[in-house]
Amino acid sequence: MLTVENLRKSFGGVSAMNGVSLAFAEGSLTAVIGPNGAGKTTFFNLITGAFRPDSGRVLLGGDDIAGLSAPEIVKRGIGRAFQIASIFPSFTVRDAIRAAVNAHQGRHARLLQRFPIAEAESRADEVMELVGLGSRAGVASGNLSHGDQKLLDIALALALEPRVLLLDEPTAGMGPEERWQMIETVHQLWERKKMTLIFIEHDMDIVFKYAQTIRVLSYGTVLAEGTPDEVRRHPKVIEAYLGAHFETGVHAGTQRP
């Protein structure tokens, strides 16, 4: 169970997060949506320790983790992937995942053993299989296609066996077909690993098809929350974000091919 209470953060007088309180049930699949500048990525950054909140609490299983450093929060079980794939370009896919598994198992500072460590192999293989990168195991990460780099970014987070996984726009920058493949992979991951998964997404077709629950942010506050149906009919959401046409179904989203 991940809960944030009255989270606030401002940057040089500009308030980016304005008292956000939200709860994410154990094992839920939640989409965070909102217009550009709504504070979605800031929200992730505050949970994961990239920024320290000005005030408010972030509770993971009852412990307040607000203000801890990023590595400490990772150790508590929160993993994340980034809007722009954040990978290690000189590493092959397999080595990058092996190294991430080492970090998770606390073996990443060992001087006397040889890389790779036998104990990390099965986990690394499992992670590659989970995201379907097995056939690209020996490819340098920097040479992967955009979509595969996004998958690798997610795989690095999965190597840490997170209880909560935060994905910042997993489908960003992809063509329609690739988007559906990506979200399908993410959905399967969620079903198989039974973790709490929170993703930021701009494609409303994807959001309304896959998310169990939706949180709508706007100007650093919670505009609405609920099931896809509740959010779709929420007057404030229609007014501020979706637009009236969304209700009627006439919109320029990406239909499943």
């Binding site: 954040s86 001087l111 890389f115 296609s145």
Partner: protein
């Protein structure tokens, strides 16, 4: 059966020591063995700097601090405290590790150019101390009176042949150890941090700890390089701690290639050869060196061994050079 990579490295190391031991028989000239001794000191030093520059992405401009510190702490222990070679060796390593821990903890808080210049500042601080503390260090004259080299375990470093073998063994063992470290989980973590420190942090890695460990390991081996040089010249000079020493190590890395483990060794050999050959024909050594560095910087960006490795890969597997899709 496929050998483990460590066993393979070990076999190469043993073969290298064997070849180096036979070298004086083939080339009896003193200039050859002296060249190898100087090379051993500089190659260990340059390789240790490459742990930071090539593997860690931490461009230290002040690595000569550890070269000078290793030379002076070893030489002073031998000359003033009268310790045996192994004890002075071990203590010099400990001193370097201690100083590297303190200076590293301060420097790695800064990034990029700020890190570079802070390391340089610490080096010049040591250089100033050596110059100023005349009663202990001999000031700008360096340590006078030579180093005593009492025999230990049947090894007598006063004998040129034994000194030569000792330096060869220290060189190969140091390279073997550093090779092992860069191929360890630590070495891979260090490269992750070089590639993307922010992401490393979000994988639960405390970046500064790994960087500090790298700084200390590099400081220790940098000191061993200086120590060998002080054994060879039977003294220690303030020049060992001057900023040009750090600059030369950076040149060696660039000439040999930072992407290949033995690149700095090759670079050290090139720089030493250039130094020895060019000064025979002209006094304008810096001009020649400048031109060589320009050629490498413009045409051979990956250094001699890096370029050779690229050609090797291209020759072995033409398909692997095809650009990846996307």
């Amino acid at each position: 059966m496929k050998r483990s990579p460590f066993v393979r490295d070990l076999l190469i190391a043993v073969a290298a020591i064997g070849l180096l031991a036979l070298l004086p028989a083939a080339f009896p000239a003193k200039a050859v063995s002296d060249f190898v001794i100087r090379l051993s000191a500089l190659a260990i030093f340059a390789t240790s700097l490459n742990l930071l520059v090539g593997y860690g992405g931490m461009v230290s401009f002040g690595h000569g601090l550890f070269y000078g510190l290793g030379a002076y702490s070893f030489a002073l222990l031998m000359q003033k405290a009268g310790t045996s070679v192994p004890v002075a060796f071990a203590l010099a390593v400990l001193i370097n590790a201690g100083v590297a821990t303190v200076i590293g903890a301060i420097c790695i808080r800064l990034k990029e150019i700020y890190f570079s210049f802070l390391t340089l500042a610490f080096q010049m601080l040591l250089h100033s101390c050596i110059i100023a503390w005349t009663s202990v260090t001999g000031g700008d004259q360096g340590l006078t009176g030579g180093l005593p080299r009492p025999p230990f375990l049947g090894i007598h470093l006063g004998e040129p042949r034994q000194l030569y073998l000792f330096c060869c063994v220290v060189l190969v063992v140091s390279l073997l150890l550093m090779r092992h470290f860069v191929q360890s989980p630590f070495g891979y973590t260090l490269r992750m941090i070089r590639d993307n420190p922010r992401r490393a942090g979000f994988l639960g890695i405390r970046v500064w700890r790994i960087q500090l460990l790298a700084f200390v390991v590099a400081g220790v081996f940098g000191g061993i390089g200086g120590l060998l040089m002080s054994l060879f010249v039977s003294s220690a000079y303030p020049d060992f701690a001057y900023w040009t020493v750090s600059g030369e190590a950076v040149f060696m890395i660039l000439l040999g290639g930072m992407g290949v483990f033995l690149g700095p060794l090759a670079g050290a050999a090139i720089l030493l050869l250039l130094n020895d050959m060019v000064t025979r024909f002209t006094e304008h050594y810096s001009l020649v060196l400048g031109i060589v560095i320009l050629v490498f910087a413009l045409g051979l960006r990956k250094g001699l061994l890096g370029t050779a490795a690229d050609l090797w890969v291209r020759w072995r597997a033409p398909a692997a050079r095809q650009p990846a899709k996307g």
